[in-house]
């Protein structure tokens, strides 16, 4: 068994080793992130059977909670750690072929910091520690969005920075308010005592958290930074932002709502907010001509669907939500990588410029198609079980509000189908009079991650039971609040 703290320490240490390794060889630093996340992936997978049995707690410095900082590697945390490590590893393989020659070392440092921050957020059991890791994630993201150094990148990074800092400020105020009332920063400790004070005085920190984390989680209307940032970031970073960063933001919201505050009577609001986010995301994506913007808006839509699923607050709903989350992480990472690879060929982000890609880049086009089909929820790809489980949970819930919202979700799915199928048509069928372009030589390091993501999407689409045990346990962890508190503070 590996100590979960290593999932944070190893990438962090290796990140800061990069400036030194640079002096040994310029090439070697490319492989450092892959190494770190491969380590995380392998050991996280090995840790999963253990945490399924009982969550692993690490007391940093030996202080017993509620003192000190503690790490909680429960099913939810490990699910996220595995996803982060998986995407982190595959995306760093994609970056073997550098995005930009200049400042390559900084790119790798920031990339590792970003994902270390994400790992820290999902593992920590301390609210202030969570904030710190969250800031690491966000700061790394701001700078990486601007990494290409072009006008669009810098502009959107600054916008992202402004909105993100506003959100972080709100979170910090919330933490301050909580600390003032409870005198502790341990989440389990606060959660155990949350009902001992006036509801109004915890309501303010609650909404501050929801708003603050909601910015990163891309809830409507806090998500205005997302389309710009996702579309102007380098391909690899778009994949990570869409596949990991917003999900981690969502994780923070879930943790706050389900564990820290344990509220149940705001779920109606979240259901509506989720569907609103979904509809607006899909409608905006529908009228995009820029592929990366389209994918970014589609991420907003997907987050809305996830919020809806989690807000059902039932085992089925949360399990379905986690499955859809995993499916979105893999699918969107794949779509951004495939689209980005095609963009490097065409030099344009316009969807129309992808004409005839099915011939010149058959493999990447196929991968994109499978990713798109999975997003829409067509079997036998991974999106289908996710959508199936969410619909099942919603119908099981059976309340009038849920059923009405379900109708809107279906409409949004049809819209989603329309814009994804349009791209697929452009890839394969558009343009009658194309010059017979040669099949370009493929960069191996770019095809491998695309291939692996595609494979995972198909395997998990055909055999979803592979991960449902972990997801069930995760749902239980979120719903069983007293059990969670008790496991940390006996």
């Amino acid at each position: 068994m590996v100590n979960p703290v290593l999932f944070i320490v190893v990438p962090l240490g290796l990140a800061f080793a990069i400036p030194l390794l640079k002096y040994i060889s310029k090439k070697i630093i490319r492989f450092v992130p892959a190494l770190a996340f491969l380590f995380n992936l392998v050991f996280a997978l090995r840790l999963i059977p253990v945490v399924m049995d009982h969550p692993v707690h690490v007391h940093i410095g030996g202080f017993i909670p509620p003192m000190g900082i503690n790490l909680v590697a429960g099913p939810v945390g490990m699910l996220f750690v595995v996803l982060i490590a998986l995407v982190g590893f595959l995306v760093s393989v994609y970056a073997f072929h550098p995005v930009k020659e200049k400042y390559e070392d900084r790119y790798h440092i920031l990339y590792m910091l970003q994902l270390t921050g994400a790992t820290g957020v999902v593992l920590t059991g301390d609210i202030f520690n969570l904030f710190v890791f969250f800031e690491i994630l966000c700061l790394a993201s701001y700078s990486l969005v601007a990494y290409l150094g072009n006008r669009a990148g810098i502009e959107s990074a600054v916008k992202y920075l402004i909105q993100g800092s506003l959100g972080s400020g709100l979170i910090l105020i919330g933490i301050g308010l909580l600390y003032g009332q409870f005198g502790t920063l341990n989440m389990a400790d606060i959660a155990g005592r949350i009902h001992s004070v006036q509801p109004v005085s915890v309501y303010v920190p609650l909404v501050l958290f929801i708003t603050g984390f909601g910015v990163e989680a891309a809830l409507f209307p806090l998500n205005a930074w997302l389309p710009d940032a996702h579309s102007s970031a380098p391909t690899t970073i778009s994949a990570v932002l869409s596949g990991i960063a917003i999900e981690v933001g969502l994780y923070a919201v879930l943790r706050v709502v389900f564990t820290l505050f344990g509220i149940s009577n705001m779920m109606g609001f979240f259901l509506v907010l989720g569907v609103l986010t979904l509809l607006i995301g899909e409608l905006c994506a529908f009228s995009q001509d820029n592929i990366k913007r389209m994918l970014a808006f589609s991420s907003i839509g997907q987050i809305g669907l996830l919020v809806f699923a989690f807000s059902l607050a039932s085992t089925q709903g949360i399990t379905g939500g986690f499955f859809q989350l995993a499916s979105h992480t893999l699918g969107k990472a794949l779509l951004f990588l495939a689209a980005g690879y095609m963009i490097t060929r065409t030099g344009s982000m316009e969807i129309a410029s992808f004409k005839g890609m099915g011939k010149t880049m058959p493999f990447t086009s196929l991968a994109f198609t499978i990713g798109a089909f999975s997003m829409v929820g067509l079997p036998p790809f991974m999106g289908f079980p996710g959508k199936f489980m969410i619909l099942k949970a919603a119908l099981h819930d059976g309340q009038m509000l849920t059923l009405i919202l379900l109708g809107f979700i279906l409409i949004a799915t049809v819209i989603e189908g329309a814009y994804f199928f349009r791209v697929v048509q452009v890839l394969y069928f558009a343009g009658d009079d194309l010059p017979d372009r040669e099949r370009a030589p493929a960069a191996f390091s770019r095809l491998v991650p695309i291939f692996l993501f595609t494979g995972l999407i198909i395997v998990l689409g055909i055999y979803p039971s592979l991960i449902t045990d972990l997801l069930d346990a995760s749902a239980l962890e979120l719903l069983d609040r007293p059990g969670f508190i008790k496991s940390i503070i006996p």
Partner: protein, 618 residues
């Protein structure tokens, strides 16, 4: 033959076909045919069997069940045979175009997904195969590029909408009954309220109605059928849309019992009456729209919509005779409509893609076999005695008349009248009349196209004379649904209130034919006169000028065209435009000004606090 093995061979074979195509085109063509031959043989060997097998339980612990019963058998066999003919037909048809491996792969995938659908024993496998069929169909429809792209888009968007409705319906059934297996559901639906059953029926009707192209859900069909590659049009029209029919029968007769279905709802809003009405509208409007088409494939596509209406009438009527009629008409339509699409495809192939009826003509001299095939197909479509369409239409008319539904019977007859008109237009414009000079060097259809056409023509004829063969299987499936089967023999139906015996009809017709032949034989011998062999005042008109196929049925068109606007299509187009505009409007939220964005964040916070202060939700 085990069902699992059968399915494994199907999908393995499809993939192998694709991969083999990278090595050798010829081997690929042969393998595709072999796989389908195997499928046909395998399914044939399952005749009369009833068995179920659990295929897989890895999908969220839902068992995926395969089952074979006579009702599934007749659909599966039809699909396999039509698929086989279409693939043989594609050999030369597709060779001129690019991306042939992809075409074969998708074609096999569509065919086998359809067989998977009819062999499914539970809704999950049904849905998975259904969706695989949908997306592979989408890719095939778009295959021809150009206009086909819009057609494919229309198809997939409607299809996704339909399958989502089905998904909701099936999961709702699951929450109600705790299982997705058909038998389990039908067992525990007895106690369901009639309101719930209507809700389920509506959801599934949207799904199946879109596939089956019932008015007003038909709009995807005409462009899709006309723009798809012709061999695939044959599959699309012949069997694919009938998967919707299959779903209807399964739902009404297999899951909700037919007695329950017939009495569902109040007098005026009776579900059955509603469906019958939609069936009638589906016959009436598309038949006359077909009349005005100048594109051969579009004409056939509209005809398919109209014929689907007959099938719906048969199914929704809910007696064993009507069900026999509906199912038999499905079977017959699969044969003659795929035959007709092949005929048009052969002409399209030889004329390099001409489908415009007004610019063809006189091809009977150049493509005689194709002409005979077309004639037989058209006869089947109209329901001329001795072709298969006669029997199934007879059964449907008979039900409607005997059970006192004069209005529906009138619509059905009116539809047939329209069918005669457009069928004649099709045959006349392509094969009769003047041969345009540019087609004087036209070759006959190649053998690989003739073989499936001749085969299908023969089946149209054989099942017209021996309707007892398919009716026997249909009877078995009606027994499976717990219904009183029809009294039949090899030559037709022996019901109390009227019987149809093709033996008598055939004998009468053949004798009559012999008499006529003898009569003409006794007269003076014909002499063959050249077309120019007439008096033209020394100024003969060039043969080309004798083209009189433009503006066919013009007076009729002028009379009824104003009433035949495709309201449904306009509605959907408006809807699509509306959504696009809404999208463009909503995009304005993201103004690009970071000040606004910061404002949104603060406003969101303010609203949350306001909600609490005002309503005290927490």
């Amino acid at each position: 033959m085990k069902l699992e093995i059968l399915l494994a061979v199907f999908f393995g074979g499809s993939l192998l076909t694709y991969l083999l195509g990278k090595i050798s085109k010829r081997a690929r063509d042969i393998l595709a045919v072999l796989v389908l031959l195997f499928a046909t043989a395998g399914i044939t060997s399952l005749y009369g069997k009833s068995s179920t097998a659990t295929l897989y339980t890895g999908f969220l612990d839902f068992p995926m069940v395969l089952s074979i019963h006579p009702f599934a058998w007749i659909f599966a066999l039809t699909i396999a045979v039509v698929g086989l003919c279409a693939v043989i037909f594609s050999w030369l048809y597709i060779r001129k175009k690019g991306r042939t491996d992809f075409f074969y792969f998708m074609m096999l995938l569509v065919i086998f997904s359809m067989i998977g659908i009819v062999l499914s024993g539970d809704f999950l496998s049904f849905y998975i195969f259904w969706e695989m069929m949908s997306w592979s169909t989408f890719l095939l429809i778009s295959y021809n590029r150009g206009k086909a792209i819009a057609a494919g888009m229309k198809y997939i968007v409607m299809s996704v909408a339909g399958s989502l409705a089905m998904l909701v319906g099936m999961i709702s059934l699951y929450t109600q009954t705790g299982t997705l297996v058909f038998e389990g559901i039908s067992g525990s639906l007895n106690s369901a309220s009639s309101g719930y059953l209507q809700f389920i029926l509506i959801l599934f009707f949207v799904a199946f109605g879109i596939k089956n192209a019932i008015w007003p859900l038909h709009v995807w069909l005409p462009p899709a059928h006309s723009e798809a590659p012709s061999p695939f049009s044959a599959v699309l029209s012949g069997v694919l849309i009938k998967i919707g029919t299959f779903g209807f029968i399964l739902l009404i007769y297999g899951i909700i019992q037919v007695q329950v279905f017939v009495n569902l709802g109040h007098a005026l809003f009776n579900v059955r009456n509603l469906l019958l009405l939609l069936g009638a509208v589906t016959i009436l409007i598309p038949t006359f729209i077909a009349l005005f088409q100048d594109d051969a494939k579009r004409l056939l596509a509209w005809s398919t919509v109209a014929q689907a209406g007959y099938i719906i009438l048969g199914i929704a009527y809910g007696t064993s005779e009507s069900l026999s009629g509906g199912t038999l008409h499905f079977f017959n339509h699969a044969l003659f409509k795929s035959l007709l699409f092949m005929v048009v495809g052969a002409v399209e192939f030889r004329t390099n893609g001409v489908r415009d009826l007004n610019s063809l003509g006189g091809l009977i001299k150049k493509m005689p076999v194709t002409f005979v095939a077309g004639l037989i197909g058209v006869c089947g479509l109209i329901g001329v005695p001795l072709t298969n369409g006669f029997v199934s239409k007879w059964l449907i008319y008979h039900t409607l008349i005997v059970n006192h539904s004069p209005f529906l019977a009138f619509v059905a007859l009116l539809g047939t009248w329209g069918t005669i008109l457009y069928s004649y237009k099709l045959i006349h414009h392509i094969f009769l009349g003047q041969l345009p000079r540019k087609y004087e060097k036209l070759q006959a259809a190649p053998v690989s196209m003739k073989v499936p056409m001749i085969f299908l023509s023969l089946t149209v004829f054989v099942f017209g004379v021996l309707p007892g063969l398919p009716l026997h299987v249909i009877n078995l499936s009606e027994l499976g649904f717990g219904m009183e089967p029809l009294a039949i023999n090899m030559w037709g139906v022996v019901t109390g209130s009227g019987s149809i015996q093709m033996l008598n009809i055939a004998t009468a017709l053949i004798l009559g034919g012999i008499v006529l032949w003898l009569f003409f034989r006794m007269g003076p011998k014909n002499t063959r006169a050249d077309q120019m062999d007439n008096y033209a005042a020394g100024a003969p008109v060039p043969a080309d000028r004798y083209q009189y196929s433009v503006k066919f049925y013009d007076p009729l068109t002028r009379m009824i065209a104003p009433y035949l606007k495709d309201i449904a299509d306009n509605f959907y187009s408006a809807l699509a435009r509306g959504i696009r505009n809404a999208g463009n409007g909503i995009r304005r939220i993201y103004t690009g000004d970071v000040g606004n964005y910061a404002l949104y964040i603060i406003l969101f916070l303010a609203i949350l606090i306001f909600i609490q202060l005002y309503w005290k939700v927490w």
